[in-house]
């Protein structure tokens, strides 16, 4: 049963990877921005996995871990967006987002620990 689950998961992942890698794109794109569009889809799948854990997580710390990982993934989104567009304020958004998510996670961890906010 466990092996069956593993094989079905592998099949799903391979199908998704094949769709992302070989789906047709407009031919006027250079191959670099073509690659970046596919990288964006790949990161979206990672973010969907985090969302799955946020929805299904049996306990509150599970959800907190998934939220933390989602925050770091969004920095990756910003980095990928800033290469083809050539705008440098996307990476500014990434920096600010990393700071914000760090503060939020620290507050969440303190809440889980059951202490006051000023220890």
């Amino acid at each position: 049963m466990k092996n069956l689950n593993w094989i079905s998961g592998l099949v799903v992942i391979v199908i998704m990877a094949a769709v992302i890698l070989f789906c047709p794109v407009p031919s006027m794109l250079s191959w670099q921005s073509n690659f970046l569009a596919r990288a964006f889809l790949w990161l979206l799948i990672c973010a969907m996995m985090c969302l799955f854990r946020i929805l299904r997580g049996p306990t509150a710390p599970d959800r907190a871990v998934a939220v933390d990982m989602l925050g770091i993934l969004i920095v990756g989104f910003c980095a990928i967006l800033s290469l083809p567009t050539g705008r440098d304020w996307y990476i500014d958004i990434g920096l600010a987002w990393a700071l914000q998510s760090f503060i939020g996670i620290m507050a969440l961890a303190k809440y889980l620990e059951g202490k006051d906010f000023d220890e």
């Binding site: 670099q32 990393a98 889980l112």
Partner: protein
Amino acid sequence: MNENIGIILMVIGLVFDFFGCLGLIRFPDVYTRLQASAKCVTLGTCGILFGLFVCTGFTATGIKALLCIAFIFLTAPVSAHALARGAYRSGVKPCEGTIVDQYSETIKK
């Protein structure tokens, strides 16, 4: 040439991101999930940012990407540590296959 090296680094980062998120789904309890995702997602995102730095060189974007790498390497382990401690203190039990648990014995006293 620089752009190709940067894109190879980005591919490595994307693969590690994927493994980290897969670990978030497959592992049985909070602590093991935290292990997998904190390591893999941190290195993966830093790989993407370093690839961006290699692609753009010493421009405004590249320098900010380097700052972002330093920031993530400093803060991601701290938040993972705080979450693990918070999970233990809030009373989440480790999963069934756990061999030894010396921390719960300590904080019970």
